[in-house]
Amino acid sequence: MTEYTSTEMMAVCGSRAVRDGERVFAGTGLPVLGALLAKVTHAPNAVIIYEGGNVDCQNTDLALSVADSRLCYKAAASIGLIETLGFLMMGGRVDLGFLGAAQIDEYGNINTSYIGEFESPTVRLPGSGGGNDIASSAGRIVLMFTHAARKFVKKLDYLTSPGHLQGPGSREKLGLIGGGPSLVVTDKCQMDFDEKTKRIRLKSVHPGVTVEWVKENVMFNLIIPDKVPTTPEPTAQELEKLRSLDPQGIYLGKGQR
């Protein structure tokens, strides 16, 4: 078995969430690595869209920004933000969106705006960007972030982007067309959402991580099935291709393997 880092494990999990032929909205960082890996493994017909305006990208160099010039290279179209987040995303034409989060709650609602009180925040995070738009309208959402107990909170400091809101039916009531979060990928485990209650549920733990550890590192009542499988490890092929996508280790890190 090839050695791999927990960051690589996350990217591979992200990749596996992409189905062939899907239209994928990916921000920079691990999500885009996951989407690109999917394209060179099991999902060659996935179409990647970046919110700055590039559609159906075939860039060969890794981008730092969702508006990076690298993304224009061999794109099918290079338009604008109303194209990508409006006509495509709000138009209901995107299957899968990747998002990060500083906090999520047990319904997968997302905070990327503030830590602390709204009136006097401790930290100003990046804000919504296109996150709220993606969370509102993408067919389904995959969340990716490194695991820390403080990120899995009972009550968000600020609700930036809608998950399943207050549970079943609450998205529909507001007319949000997207399906909401379907998967959470951390460096320790994967979580999905219980169909009936729309509450978050442990799906698999990465090799070496215990269910107990996860339970202790989530600040709400996580649904834990009787049997929790171990996440399949990255294959040698996945790792090789993944590393070739980020040869300088911009997102995967340098030499930490």
Partner: protein, 303 residues
């Protein structure tokens, strides 16, 4: 019979910046690493402007230096960080000091607000923001957004107030003296920004002739009718990038994010890279021909 006059809207970076009064509201172009008005931000700092309010989807180093220098502390904005590199360091510090005030929107919300301003209608409808704290938690505006029951469907829909700022500022690749503007690569929300402002300023890498513009009207993204001032500023988005002209200066950005974590580091950066150089020309001299050449884009790839 009078002869037609080719209107010449060209002006220098220094002069155009003088036209921005303290307290002006500015719709701010560029998206992420692409074509932000960096040279303009630096000149606003040199001229010690105060009390600006900026409207934009997302910007990064350009906004962060304005926050550091306390030129602009009010934002109606969707995204503020240095993508891939981390949080914006001055923003982080000034927020802790309680100095910065945000009105938070999503990227599409801001783009639609500019579109509504360009169309001169008071609002634009959006399906998003519903269920989010962005809809209800406000700081700068009484009328941040309204939710109505759609008179056609009966379902809730959010209405966003249109933006018609005092100034619209964008960076483009090529423009003629009348303001006809060509933008290549992604447009972000710049087409809408250029059309929604009371006064629109185009900074361009290159000035081309009106004849060249008229040779290919399909390439004109912003007709000169919307444009009040044209400013030629080569490398006007450095340390960020302009598709087809130059790439971002990654080592500089990494240095920035690292150094400006402290107020001392920021003050040093401010002196070294903005005030000390005295002008955009001074800045380019400091960066140096060799480095600029290395950043220049391969014409086929565009970066």
């Amino acid at each position: 019979m009078p002869e037609p006059v080719v209107e010449d809207k060209r002006i220098s970076l220094k002069e155009v910046t003088k036209k921005i009064p303290n307290g002006a509201h500015i719709a701010w172009g560029g998206f992420g690493y692409q074509r932000p008005p960096e040279a303009f931000a630096m000149e606003l700092i040199r001229q010690k402007k105060r009390g600006l309010r900026i409207y934009t989807c997302g910007s990064e180093h350009d906004l962060d230096i304005l926050v550091g220098a306390e030129v602009c502390l009010e934002f109606e904005v969707a995204f503020f960080a240095i993508e891939a590199l981390g949080l914006a360091p001055n923003l982080r510090r000034r927020t802790k000091e309680g100095k910065v005030r945000f009105e938070d929107y999503s990227n599409l919300s801001m783009a639609l607000r500019f579109l509504g301003g360009a169309l001169n209608v008071p609002f634009m409808p959006i399906r998003h923001l519903l269920g989010s704290d962005m809809l209800t938690k406000a700081r700068l505006r009484k009328d941040k957004a309204k939710v109505i029951d759609c008179p056609f469907t009966g379902k809730p829909i959010a209405l966003l107030p249109s933006v018609q700022a005092d100034f619209g500022v964008i960076c483009a690749q090529r423009v003629d003296p009348e303001g006809n503007t060509q933008i290549f690569g992604i447009k972000g929300e710049d087409n809408e920004i250029a059309r929604c402002a009371k006064t629109t300023i185009v900074f361009a890498e290159e000035i081309i002739s009106n004849e060249e513009i008229r040779r290919n009207p399909d390439l004109t993204m912003i007709p000169g009718l919307y444009v009040d001032y044209v400013v030629e500023v080569p490398f006007g988005s450095w340390p960020m990038q302009v598709y087809g002209y130059y790439d971002y200066d990654l080592p500089h950005l990494q240095m920035y994010v690292q150094q400006c974590r402290t107020e001392e580091g920021w003050q040093e950066y401010l002196e070294d890279w903005i005030l000390g150089v005295g002008s955009h020309e001074g800045l380019l001299k400091k960066i140096g021909e060799k480095r600029l050449k290395a950043l220049r884009a391969d014409k086929v790839r565009g970066y």
